[in-house]
């Protein structure tokens, strides 16, 4: 393992490798990614694999819109021959309450103003897209056909390969124990494989980013929440879009491989990353009510992972006032995978001191400035 680097990125999830790739592409030499387990071990490999642009805040809309542009041309961008299984069959968001329906009106307006051509649908129109959808009490839906799915493992692998081709070193099985800070400046990291001297560290540790913050003495305004998810056996394609309801607290999509992947937000937070039988029972009730044919599907796997939640449910992509050379891409609040292509670009801009490629406010200072607009549309 190298013992010196220009930038050390902590975390081999999609955001870690995307940042590494973008730094290397911009000409930064000696970029190292440290991953304590294996690539995509954390939230990336455990996520619902959805790619959506129908958000309720400007930042999320822009990041997702730009990420989709990159997803659409990923092979040209990364120049590696890996099919990330990107499909664009839409997201169908369901409104069952007046409050939700009103929010959808606002969201669609915002999205349209930012070039995301989502639209509102009547229950009948929603049923045309998903014929077996239970539309009981459904007021309407929001839909954007350019939303969809990508395979998180393959996308991470594609970014990692592309980064490695540009000279990035990715070390797996390397865990950071502590960070060396001297006079408010980053000096290096202590790992289970030795010390690496560096002046720049990126905290992309997802569910463990709070702990990394503590290593430099910073209390980051994020916390990790266990979310559970399951996958069924694969069947022929019957469901195009991701179906999502905030009030029923559920998302469900059929992947290109044919399996259904679904989950919902938990009632309580847990430090455990194990799954529960309670999730199976509740999930089954929810999904078979909303999408009745799913009652015939057999579950093949269930698992859990962390949402790293920020106060406004938008990512924090930022430098750090207290510690020079400490950067963070954290608090993705359950949508880190789909934003990663754009986040890599923004973090590269921040580290290199460039003007941000897009007009977004993602710095950690926004919470002190009270510029918080909370993302309303999170499962």
């Amino acid at each position: 393992m190298k013992n010196r680097a220009a930038v050390v990125i902590i975390g081999g999830g999609i955001n870690g490798v995307s940042i590494a790739y973008n730094l290397a592409k911009a000409g930064v030499k000696d970029v190292i990614v440290l991953e304590k387990k294996f690539l995509a071990y954390g939230a990336t490999g455990r996520c619902g694999a959805g790619v959506r642009q129908q958000w309720g805040t400007k930042q999320n809309c822009i990041l997702s819109r730009e990420s989709v542009k990159i997803f659409e041309n990923i092979k040209d961008e990364l120049k590696v021959d890996i099919d990330i299984e990107f499909k664009q069959k839409g997201y169908l968001l369901l409104a069952f309450t007046e409050k939700e329906w009103n929010q959808f009106h606002k969201n669609v307006q915002l999205q349209n103003s930012l070039g995301i051509n989502s639209k509102l649908l009547s229950p009948q129109e929603a049923k045309e897209i998903v014929p077996f959808l239970n539309t009981e009490k459904l007021l309407g839906a929001a839909y954007y056909e350019k939303d969809g799915h990508a395979n998180p493992f393959l996308t991470t692998l594609a970014y990692a390969k592309a980064a490695e081709k540009l000279g990035v070193k990715i070390y797996k099985g390397v865990e950071v124990f502590d960070i060396h800070v001297k006079e408010g400046k980053i000096k290096g990291v202590y790992t289970n494989h030795g010390y690496i001297a560096t002046e720049k560290i990126v905290n992309a540790a997802g569910g463990w980013s709070q702990e990394i913050g503590k290593m430099v003495g910073v209390d980051l305004p994020v916390y990790s929440e266990r979310h559970e998810i399951l996958a069924t056996e694969p069947v022929n394609e019957i469901l195009g879009p991701m179906v999502m309801s905030f009030s029923y607290n559920i998302y469900c999509q059929q992947t290109p491989h044919g399996s259904f992947v679904m989950g919902y937000g938990p009632k309580e937070t847990s430090k455990s990353m194990r799954s529960t039988w309670q999730f199976l029972e509740t999930m089954a009730k929810k999904v078979t009510y909303l999408l009745p044919p799913t009652k015939n599907l057999r579950v093949v796997r269930q698992w859990a992972g962390y949402y790293n939640i920020s106060p406004d449910r938008q990512p924090i992509v930022s430098s750090c006032n207290e510690v020079e050379g400490f950067y963070m891409a954290i608090g993705f609040s359950g949508h880190g995978f789909m934003l990663a292509p754009a986040v890599g670009v923004i973090m590269k801009d921040i580290i290199l001191g460039n003007k941000l490629t897009w007009d977004v406010v993602l710095d950690i200072g926004r919470f002190e400035r009270n510029e918080i607009i909370k993302e309303p549309s999170v499962v």
Binding site: S272, R274, W277, E281
Partner: protein, 485 residues
């Protein structure tokens, strides 16, 4: 204490219900009894025990942090909260890759055994067996019993993997064992029509026509549920792959969870049965506080059984178990290890007696097995320990043939020099008639002569004794008969 058994299949018994051969081991356990009958006895015991609830057709899905086990019972997820959990999920088969290995006609040995011995379906006519471990040898023998034509047993190593008495059993049926060979290709368009095997030293290729390729290339613990539970696992090749870390009472790193049998590491069935009993008793002890002394006895018996299994013991040492245990070094058995045929010299030693009629114990390998000792009415067979070679006291031997009938390895014969006859164990159909002329075969299945059946002793456990007339020069070579009608 209430016990619930969850079984994915619609019947109990696991692999035992396919094991039509007699088990080795100690007479104190189930040595000399066929696996299918052991299963029957155990199932009977379970069925008449009132406090055992049987959940057949019921797949366990998970064991959760809150102590709940979920199982799919009658297509519904049911929940159970046990005090102790014993996981005995066994193993699954390893495969080896070769060209066209996805052709219909390529089977795992377990599938062949299930088809043949559970459902009575012969998977094909001409079978090529890959692997000469005990499973490869035993399944070859069973296929021959079911009248399939076993074209050969392919073994990549330079010696036979399984017990040599099993090898000798298949060799006398005329089945060749190709050591230092491996399969490189399956032939055929829509199904297996043959195979190409290759000598790994000379790279010489050989084509064998067959319609079944049967893979008996080892087992791997079926540990999915242990992973789901977060049991700490360790990769130990000697035990078949990832196995749970556990203590001498088979307790895993997760509280209240025990393992027994192949899921804890690939071993013989007798060890699995002992481990099952041990975990049952130990789990009961943890619940009731009453210690059953049999727990210690079982541990001793397991040690006894493992005395010659250097592979298993070396694996256990990696788990910090059996640390001071010394395995007896393997003695070289020369050609027998390569061919399954004992050298002339070994046989001559057994024939040195001046007596007219006596037993010949063609048992040269140290394996844990002793049913012959207690079968002898005159105490003529002595063994210094479970794993030792039996010694015959020729003065005491009356040539009755009891030992011929009980030997699980079919490795004992009686010769009568005066009568010019041999008593052989015979486990095939049809049985010859008294007076019928049959073909007399040697240790490699070659025809020696045609001669007359003098007597037939039909035994309850179906290892029948056939006494055949044999010319003097063939007395020491005659090891099998073929009924030709």
């Amino acid at each position: 204490m209430n016990v619930a058994i969850f079984e994915e299949k619609e019947f109990l018994g696991g692999q035992l219900i396919k094991q039509t051969h007699k088990f080795f081991g100690s007479k104190d356990e189930s040595a000399g009894i066929r696996g299918i009958y052991i299963a029957k006895n155990l199932i009977n015991e379970i069925e008449k025990t009132e406090n055992i609830d049987l959940y057949l057709n019921s797949m366990v899905m998970g064991y959760y942090e809150d102590g709940v086990i979920t199982a799919l019972v009658n297509n519904k997820m049911e929940k159970f909260i046990p005090k102790k959990v014993i996981i005995a999920t066994g193993a699954f088969e390893k495969s080896i890759p070769f060209e066209n290995d996805d052709l219909p006609g390529v089977f795992g040995a377990g599938a062949v055994q299930t088809l043949m011995n559970v459902y009575g379906i012969l998977p094909g006519k001409d079978v090529l067996m890959i692997g000469s471990g005990n499973i490869g040898l035993i399944v070859s023998y069973q296929l021959a019993q079911a009248r399939a034509n076993v074209k050969g047993i392919v073994e990549i190593s330079d010696h036979i993997g399984g017990y040599l008495v099993h090898a000798s059993k298949v060799r006398r049926l005329g089945i060749p064992i190709y050591t230092q060979h491996t399969i490189v290709k399956a032939l055929g368009k829509n199904k297996v029509e043959g195979a190409i095997i290759e000598n790994i030293q000379t790279h010489e290729k050989k084509e064998i026509s067959c319609d079944v390729i049967c893979l008996a290339t080892g087992l791997m613990p079926l540990s999915d549920i242990l992973n789901q539970i977060n049991c700490e696992m360790k990769y130990i090749p000697e035990l078949g792959g990832f196995v749970p870390i556990r203590d001498e009472n088979l307790k895993t790193t997760v509280e209240n969870v025990f393992v027994a049998g192949d899921v804890a590491g690939i071993e013989e069935a007798t060890a699995a049965m002992l481990e099952g009993e041990l975990t049952g008793l130990y789990a009961a002890y943890e619940i009731t506080g009453k210690f059953d002394k049999r727990i210690n006895t079982i541990k001793e018996r397991l040690k006894d059984l493992r005395k010659t299994s250097s592979k298993v013991v070396n694996g256990l040492k990696k788990l910090n178990l059996y640390e001071d245990f010394i395995v007896e070094p393997h003695e070289s058995l020369g050609d027998l290890h390569k061919t399954g045929i004992p050298e002339e010299e070994k046989i001559e030693n057994l024939l040195s007696s001046k007596k007219e009629r006596f037993a010949i114990l063609e048992c040269f390998q140290k394996i844990p097995c002793n049913p012959c000792v207690s079968s002898c009415p005159t105490n003529a067979i002595k063994m210094d320990g479970l794993n030792e070679i039996p010694k015959l006291d020729y003065d005491k031997c009356i040539g009755c043939g009891n030992c011929v009938a009980v030997c699980p390895g079919l490795a004992i014969f009686v010769i009568d020099k005066k009568k010019e006859s041999v008593i052989l164990p015979y486990e095939f159909y049809p049985l010859p008639e008294k007076g019928e002329f049959v073909e007399i075969l040697d240790r490699e299945g070659n025809l020696l002569e045609r001669n007359q059946v003098l007597s037939i002793r039909k035994m309850k456990d179906k290892t029948n004794l056939i006494e055949v007339k044999v010319s003097k020069e063939n007395l020491k070579h005659s090891r099998h008969i073929r009924v030709v009608r």
